[in-house]
Symmetry: C2
Subunit: 373 residues, 2 copies
């Protein structure tokens, strides 16, 4: 174990906050939690799996710091992200008799962070929130930036709000209990961050992926720091997602279409992102924006870590249909007035948004990505 901590600042003025990354933070983060929860009430929102596996580790710190703290559990996974569960959670918070000085602690993966963050935004029009994400995906991505949302029959994340946490604690030790498939899915977002950041960072991932995926704490902390740093920088420049923040969606226009076509829950988000990164770089190369060797290098790294390196590598009981995927893209939340927005690459470290990609070019690329064999 290392006592080393890394801190990434999300620079949003008076709403700014730190992401603290390290080992065994659940037991040792008393110093950074104290300014937020000391002498106040807290409610930990979690799911039964995380509660049983990790809550006892956090309990001692909360016992020492809080005036009183309670636990509320929500269903595990995406089931938590519904109107029904949001309403039930808010009612349980009201039942507890908490007030505006209470701190909500979101303790779980992305879904828990979403519904707890949403409830914190709405409870008496906003109470303090602490994010303690427990998956690699949420540590590097969803717990940072203040976005939250629920799903509706019309699609994922169509209803939500922005509510920045007061602090994010990324304890890499909790990843030891994460299923391998979930860990790899989270690594898909890390690869995206490397591609956004630059050559040095992507090369570092190519070299260190085996050890960080083996949960070697040093490289893991460094990878989480890189992911959070990427997100933090982009969020700080565009909190409300009106411009630059779109860059974090590299690979995501494809990924959202793949998830919608597969039926929600069939793919893990990071698996769809991995195939989306391969498709986005292939599209960038096809349109002449970047060297085709970049696309091959991305594909090679995904294959090396056993992430899907093309659409056809994603589990599906029938062939993937390029036209169906294009239709989903036309209904993406980011699509305004019918213009599909893609994040493309001029090279590693040089992403840009393009709202003028011809549909035929997308179809041509998808034809290649979807072909089995």
């Amino acid at each position: 174990m290392t006592n080393e901590r890394r801190t990434v600042r999300v620079d949003l003025g008076e709403r700014g906050y730190d992401i603290v990354i390290g080992e065994r933070l659940l037991e040792t983060a008393e110093d950074v939690l104290a300014p937020i929860v000391a002498g106040r009430r807290a409610v930990v929102v979690t799911d039964a799996v995380i509660r049983d596996a990790h809550l006892p580790r956090l309990a001692a710190v909360l016992d020492r710091l809080c005036d009183r703290w309670d636990t509320v559990t929500v269903p595990a996974g995406e089931d938590a992200k519904s109107f029904r569960e949001l309403e039930a959670l808010l009612h349980r918070l009201l039942d507890l008799g908490i007030d505006r000085s209470t701190v909500l602690v979101a303790f779980g993966g992305g879904a828990v962070g979403d519904v707890a963050g949403f409830a914190a935004a709405l409870f008496m029009r906003g109470i303090d929130l602490v994010q303690i994400p427990t998956t690699l995906m949420s540590q590097v991505d969803s717990a940072v930036g203040g976005k939250n949302a629920i799903n509706t029959p019309h699609g994922k994340n169509l209803v939500g709000t922005f509510h920045q946490p007061r602090i994010v604690l990324d304890d890499v030790s909790v990843l030891e209990s994460l299923p391998r498939r979930e860990l790899l899915s989270g690594y898909g977002e890390v690869v995206k961050c490397g591609l956004i950041r630059g050559e040095a960072e992507f090369a570092w991932l190519e070299e260190n992926a085996p050890s960080l995926l083996a949960l070697d704490a040093g490289p893991l902390i460094e990878a989480v720091r890189m992911g959070c740093g990427t997100k933090a920088g982009i969020v700080a420049s565009d909190e409300r997602d009106r411009g630059d923040r779109a860059l974090v969606n590299l690979g995501h226009t494809f990924a959202h279409a793949l998830e919608a076509e597969a039926g929600y829950g069939a793919l893990l988000h990071g698996e769809a992102v991995a195939a989306g990164l391969a498709a986005a770089t292939a599209l960038s190369a096809r349109l002449g924006h970047c060297d085709p060797r970049v696309a091959e290098r991305v594909r090679g790294h995904l294959r090396a870590v056993r992430l899907p390196d093309r659409v056809a590598a994603l589990a599906s009981d029938r062939p993937w249909d390029p036209r169906a995927l294009l239709t989903h893209m036309a209904h993406d939340k980011k699509t305004v007035a019918g213009r599909i927005h893609f994040v493309l690459l001029r090279g590693i470290g040089s992403p840009f948004v393009d709202g003028t990609v011809p549909g035929q070019a997308v179809l041509d690329v998808l034809d290649g990505e979807c072909r089995r064999g």
Copy 2:
């Protein structure tokens, strides 16, 4: 009819906006609506009463400006402010296939403004909102400042968010169809604003109340301007309700308790506010903060316009119970760590927040306010 318009700026930097006040604005506000809705889609959220009475007047402007516009109705009155109706409204917006460039137009009283504003805040994490309030209460108060909320079985407005509109249009002509009791209720908030503002404004109300309550457009526009100006100034200094914004709650700690005790719907909000203003000034005098003649002057003005001038003047089938009211106050959303916060007066124009009022002083004042005879 006067073509005179008054504009009040809500100074919130990049989220700042104008409140435009005048006669026949529904037909003539094309110039101020154009920068917001021209060439875009709009959805008017309203109730059946306002739709039938006033939507045709607004339709011509929307026809000329919008790419397309639709209407969605919600139940009239507080029934709209529920989780169920919020969810139903969001689903109907999704059914319409609108995107993030669509503008939501809240067209109705406070409840419509609340649920429509809430939906605008949550739809794809926030779309543009235009507030066109149709009651005096919403024109001077609830449509300004970006607060929205729904009710739960635990109480009123416990779940909500902040979402500033792009513009507020206060067309005093629509007040012609407002029931007299609703008009008077709205005037209760205007009295509050006069007390917050100062001697000149309160004296102006004492003189002009009869003509503005007779819907004489000149004084009515001036009164709405004064109410909006008061709210706008306070909101600009404390958007998120952490400090100064509490001053707009003069009379409201009492009013919320009266509404909760009466059962929601039994009293109009402005009626409870009127009795609350009498109680707050009486409490201020009793604690030695202001001259007892201020309290008598407030009571005299309320009586003159036929608003409740004391708790006992509020309709109730049983005597009002001071202890029950105090218990409700202890559960107010503004009550943190058991300290009830009152807005008191040092004089007309000098409100301040006091979190140290002894419970016995409150009970003594309520004994007098609740006594019939």
